[in-house]
C-alpha cells in the first residue's frame, strides 16, 4: 500500500507550478517533511496528489493503481488531504465536523463505534472540551486541531498535511507533530507534511524533500538536506546549522534579510 509519484507536472493556466516531480521509495511509518520557499509548489503537489488539480503529465500510483482512475471517494479513503486554508464557517459543532470526516468514507448511519472513534480523536488531541462548540467560533489554531482530528479518525494510508502547525502555539506544534508521527508509525501509513519551520522539520521528519520553483531540489535525511549552503541557495538566507547539546539538528538564520528580498 504505497505511494509513488513519478515525473509529475502541473500548471495553473500557462503557469507551470510543478515540474517533473518524482517522489518514491516512501516507507511505511515514515513522516516526510516537504519544505521550500513560498510558491515552491508544495500545496500544488498535495492538491495534485489529492486529485484537486489535474496533472499535466506524470503519474501518481497508490498500491499499484493510478489514482487518476480512482473515483474521488475511493481516492479520499486512502489519501487524506488537509488543506492549508480552511476557515470553517459552517454552523456545525466540533463533534459534528470530525464525525463528518468519518461518515464520508463509511456507512451513512452513525453507529456507536463512530461516536467512540470521534470521542477518542478529540480526547487524544485534548480538544474534548470543545466538542460542543461551533467550529466557526474557534480560533485558527483550534480549527487546525479539529482538522487534525478529522485526519486521525479517517485513518488513511497517506496523509497530506499542508502546514498543519501554522496557527498553533509552540506546545501544540510539537504535540500535533508527535501525534502525527505516532499515528503514522502505528498504522504503517505515510505522512507528507508541508512545513515552513525548518527546525520542526528537522526534529520530526524521517525524510525531508526540499522544493524550489516546482522542482524537487533535494531529497534525503534531515542532515543531508538541511545544509547551510543549500538553504542559502534556495531561500536566499544565510543560516548556521549544527547540533544542540542533546544532539538535535538545528537551523538558525544568521544575518538580516538579503538585499534582493529587502528590496521587494
Amino acid at each position: 500500500m504505497t505511494l509513488n509519484i513519478s515525473e509529475l507536472s502541473a500548471a495553473y493556466g500557462t503557469h507551470r507550478v510543478l515540474d517533473d516531480v518524482t517522489i518514491n521509495h516512501l516507507k511505511p511509518g515514515e513522516v516526510i517533511a516537504i519544505i521550500g520557499p513560498n510558491a515552491a509548489g508544495k500545496s500544488t503537489l498535495f492538491r495534485t496528489i489529492a486529485g484537486l488539480v489535474r496533472p499535466l503529465s506524470g503519474q501518481i500510483c497508490f498500491a499499484g493503481q493510478d489514482v487518476a482512475d480512482m473515483p474521488p471517494a475511493e481516492r479520499a479513503a486512502h489519501i487524506f488531504y488537509m488543506p492549508q486554508v480552511f476557515a470553517m464557517n459552517a454552523v456545525l459543532s466540533v463533534f459534528e465536523v470530525v464525525l463528518l470526516a468519518l461518515k464520508q468514507s463509511g456507512r451513512a448511519k452513525v453507529s456507536s463505534d463512530d461516536i467512540g472513534t470521534v470521542e477518542q480523536a478529540l480526547d487524544r488531541l485534548g480538544i474534548s472540551r470543545l466538542a460542543d462548540r461551533i467550529v466557526s467560533e474557534l480560533s485558527g489554531g483550534q480549527q487546525q486541531l479539529v482538522s487534525i482530528a478529522q485526519a486521525l479518525v479517517r485513518a488513511p494510508s497517506v496523509m497530506l498535511l499542508d502546514e498543519p502547525t501554522s496557527a498553533l502555539d509552540l506546545r501544540h506544534q510539537i504535540d500535533v507533530l508527535q501525534r502525527v508521527g505516532a499515528a503514522t508509525r502505528e498504522r504503517g501509513s505515510v505522512s507528507l507534511v508541508a512545513l515552513h519551520d525548518l527546525n520542526l522539520a528537522a526534529r520530526f521528519a524521517d525524510r525531508i524533500i526540499l522544493m524550489g520553483q516546482g522542482r524537487v531540489v533535494s531529497d534525503g535525511s534531515p542532515v543531508d538536506v538541511l545544509s547551510s549552503s543549500r538553504i542559502q541557495e534556495i531561500y536566499g538566507v544565510s543560516v548556521e546549522t549544527g547540533f544542540t547539546a542533546s544532539g538535535q539538528l538545528y537551523v538558525a538564520p544568521l544575518d538580516t534579510m538579503p538585499a534582493a528580498v529587502a528590496a521587494e
Binding site: 474521488p72 463528518l100 470521542e119
Partner: protein
Amino acid sequence: MTDFIETTGSGYRLTVRRRTLILTGGLLALLAALLADLFIGPGNFSPLTVIGTLFDPASHGVRMEVIVWDLRLPVALTALLVGVMLGIAGAQMQTILGNPLADPFTLGISSAASFGAALAIVLGIGLIPVAGHLLVTANAFLFALLTSGMLYFITRVRGVNAETMILVGIALLFTFNSLLALLQYGASETQLQQVVFWMMGSLGRASWPKIFGAVALLAVVLPLMLHRRWALTALRLGDDKAASLGVNVVRLRIEMLVCISLLAATSVSFVGTVGFVGLVGPHIARILVGEDQRFFLPLSGLCGGLILSIASTVSKAIQPGVIYPIGIITSLIGIPFFISLVMKSRRRLW
C-alpha cells in the same frame, strides 16, 4: 480522561435526541397549520363538519364535499407543498453557493418564470402549444428551467463553483427583469394588472393534478438529497475540504442545481413569486438544528411549509371574503417572527 470520553459522545447523543424532538414538533405544527388552513374560509363551517367531510366526503352533503375537497384542501395542500419545496430548495441553494443570502430564486429563476408568464399573458406566446391559463403555468415553468440550463452551460465553461454561479445567475436575473419590464411597458392596462397579480403570488390556481405533480417531484428529489446528506454537509466546510473528504463537488453542485431548478420552477409556476420562504425557512432551521443535513434539510422543508400554511390561513382571516396575495402576506407575517429569532439566537447564524 474517561469522564471526557463519556461527555463528548453522550453530549452529541443528547443533541441528536433534541433535534429529533424538534423535527417531530415541526411535523406536528405543520399538521396543525394545515388543519387551521382547512377550517378557515368563507362560510363559517365548524371544524367538526370540515373534519367529518375530510374523512367521509359524502357525510355532510355535496356542497361541503365541494368546499372541502375541491376548494379548501387543494389550496391548503398547495400552500404546504410549495412551502416545503421552497424551503428545501432554499436550503440547498444556500449550501451549494455557500451564501446566506441565497434562496431558490437567487439565480434568476423567478424572474425568468415571471417573464415566461408575462410572455403568455401579454403576447399569448408559449413554448409549448397548450390552451388557456395552463399556458401561463407552462411558460413560467419552462422559462425557469431554461434559465437553469443556461446557467449550467455558462458555468460549465468557466468552472462550476459558487462565485461563477452567483455572478452568472445575477446577470440572468437582471436580463429577465429587463425583458419583463419591456413587456410590461408595451402591455395594455388589463394585461399589466394580470402580470402584476401573477407575480404577487396566489393560491387560487391550486388543483389536484398540480398537487400530485408536486408530491411526485418531492418523492424523487428528497430521497436524492438525503442520500447525499453527508456530502452536502461537508460542502459547507468549503470546496477543498469537501473534495479532500472524497466529495465530487462539481457533480454534487450540478445535481443540486437540477433539483433546485425543478422545485423552484414548479413552485413559481404554481403560485407565482413567493420570495421570503426559501430564504428564511432554511435560516430558521439552521438556528434550531444547525447544518447537519439529516436535520437541516427536513426542517427547512417543514419551516417553509409551516410559514406558507400559516400565511395562507392569515390571508383568508384578515378580511372575511377577501383573500390577500400569499406572496405579500408571507413576508409580512414571517419577518417579525424571523427577526425575533435572529435577535434571540446566541449561536452563529451562518
